[in-house]
Subunit: 449 residues, 2 copies
Amino acid sequence: MEKTEVLIIGGSAAGLATANSVFARWPEKRIQIIRNVEYTVIPCGIPYIYGFLDSVKKNQLGDQGFLSKGMSINQKHLADVDRSRKIAFFEDGEQIEYDKLILALGSTPKVPPIEGIGLANVFAIKKDPVYLQTIYEALNFEGVKDVVIIGGGFIGVEMAEQVKMRGDYHVSIVEALPHCLMLNCEEFAAIKAEKELETLGINLINSTMVQSISGDNQVESVILSDGRSIRADMVLLGIGSSPNIGIAEKIGLEADPNLGIKVDEFMRTSDPSIYACGDCCTKFSAIDGKPSDVRLASVAALEGIIAGSNLFSPDRKNQGVVGSFCTKVGSLSIASTGYTEKQCQEKGIEYYTGSMAAPDRHPGSLPDCTPDMEMKLIFEKGSNRAIGGHVAGGVQAGDMVNIIALAIHNRLTAEQIVATQYATHPLLTGSPLVYHVLWAAEKAILNSK
Amino acid sequence: MEKTEVLIIGGSAAGLATANSVFARWPEKRIQIIRNVEYTVIPCGIPYIYGFLDSVKKNQLGDQGFLSKGMSINQKHLADVDRSRKIAFFEDGEQIEYDKLILALGSTPKVPPIEGIGLANVFAIKKDPVYLQTIYEALNFEGVKDVVIIGGGFIGVEMAEQVKMRGDYHVSIVEALPHCLMLNCEEFAAIKAEKELETLGINLINSTMVQSISGDNQVESVILSDGRSIRADMVLLGIGSSPNIGIAEKIGLEADPNLGIKVDEFMRTSDPSIYACGDCCTKFSAIDGKPSDVRLASVAALEGIIAGSNLFSPDRKNQGVVGSFCTKVGSLSIASTGYTEKQCQEKGIEYYTGSMAAPDRHPGSLPDCTPDMEMKLIFEKGSNRAIGGHVAGGVQAGDMVNIIALAIHNRLTAEQIVATQYATHPLLTGSPLVYHVLWAAEKAILNSK
């Protein structure tokens, strides 16, 4: 029987980050990565397969960096684990004995139990290149013109934008909330994003649910909760995902169908030889310590690093997630970290905010200026610590919000954000007289008085 | 005699930030801003007058935002101050009685005492629109083809790039150090910047001093320390600046010719009714508390905010500077904060570093990708706190380095930088498997073991 010291089940962000992390610390350990797909797709890059990249293959995350370190990567399906003997059984009959087993099993897109969901040309967004190729080919089929996307979260919005850019499609997004992206973003950012979508010619149907899908073998229309029917040659689902816990439950690890395989701060499951990380495992908020269902590649990669560091001795604790996220819609970049105002209200947190809208170059007539880049910061009353940061504007949005992510993780206050001397430059940032991070925090301080 | 509650001498970043800060807290106070120039130029935008903007006027910082708040802005030259009676005297004979006086006097470009420095077409970079217009017109003069820039700091480099972009000039930079930008940047960034300059066709003369300037009335050549002579129809000086302390000394405030007007943590001079901020006043390092000569608009604006907040009651302390700075050379954006390795060595600080070079989009074939964006982080041994951050790559460099600026100011460690969940996205950042901030810190941790 094959033996390996580190057996990683899952070849996406969490699994690969674990592999990197183990290798960096213990390069002599034998590392085997098992994935259930032919090759690894860059998970966040999936929407761009259908537009900018125009290819499933171009969104591949190559194996070379891992193979060159002596790791092996194979396609197999995990069938069972004998925890007492520390043996993993695969569907092809192979058995691998492990010292440490890492479950990086990912998640599965949610599929609503509505009528017609099983019709042809109804797709979820699975991280499987073969499945993604099927969507690609279906989109290229001549008869496919009307594409309806159910769910206006970031995957839905990104898919809508890329499909629309691809060619002459009629693209609609059906979103249950009053605006797209509202689970992650402040309303000001969501509204700006919707303007971009509308400029691209995408049809937004907000505050609306999907009742059913109809058609004869293949989808023909989507029936909305208000009774309307809209034409659809293809339906794409973007309504979230559920952690893959099947195998973990089967082998008796603690797991929750909504929250995932239970892990401690060292990313250990209830079996000390088995770790879990990424979409498949439980998470907690870095702000209030409560369970979180934030599933992002950035979270998965960070958890992989932590799991990898801890495999052979507990070294570092997971500090939780703040939900940092960014995307681009048309010419608008959006980024969020921590809570939105709405989330604060739902959680009963007393807070104050400060906003700064200003050009992100100075003077604003310089090239590549976004004239009204806007940042809103949210601070907890009393402690004054940062608990939310939201940006909409130029392409530096992601890194700009990461300043606030660091602040939230380290419980920094508005005063500490203001007291920092930031780099500014005409071609790269707003003027120091309006620099977004500094002034949004300063305005929050003024608002709190 | 006119009376005002807040009299600000200086209409650039420090003065205007003070005005904004006072107004935000005490909108009822009368605020008068006096400047010695016709209008305020955006200080960091000056190089772009000669290229992207092609106009001095387009680099104006407008008064409207200040006038609309009821402030007055006038052009005058401060001649004297009667501190006991709290009266400022101006060269035009006007006197203004003040409650609080803010000296935001700026700095003056250094002019080396070499032969020929007084020849026509030898210019420093003064923040005076009339003077800047003279340079603009001199550049447009048909006979001006060879432009020699003395000093390869960021002003020199930016001027070189913009003059070269302007048209058919032969541009040379003479720099005393082995590379341009070495006072602020790590060598890897400086070398990348030099490649951009060379691609633009700029002639780099490093490790070389200027001996003298020669010509008959107007500059004709520059004589280098190695004896070479290079043609020059124009010489631009970019070798740093000295704080404007003249008036402060005259009226008996404590001041140092190199470090500036002495201020305490509340930005108060030795006279409790007089504050100073910006290039003209003393500064200290947020890392070790020692005197600093970092003079940047971002520092000036921050000090203005602090001074303004403290005018009528001590509210917040200046936390010092970390020298955060960014610029763009050709297609390369560069940003730095805190110390360089060289500075650590000079200061006898024991440190370790971590670097990450990776595409800033994922996959790297996506639009606007900088394939080898590089970040280096420097941590102090023992405390493990961040003391330096350096980036060269895409346009998000400034905001990316500001993550580290916040970390340095708040003494965060490499572990705290790694433990943060950052936003990543294919179109905006590197992959979470290589995200620069996270992985440079992680690599530093690994290097330290």
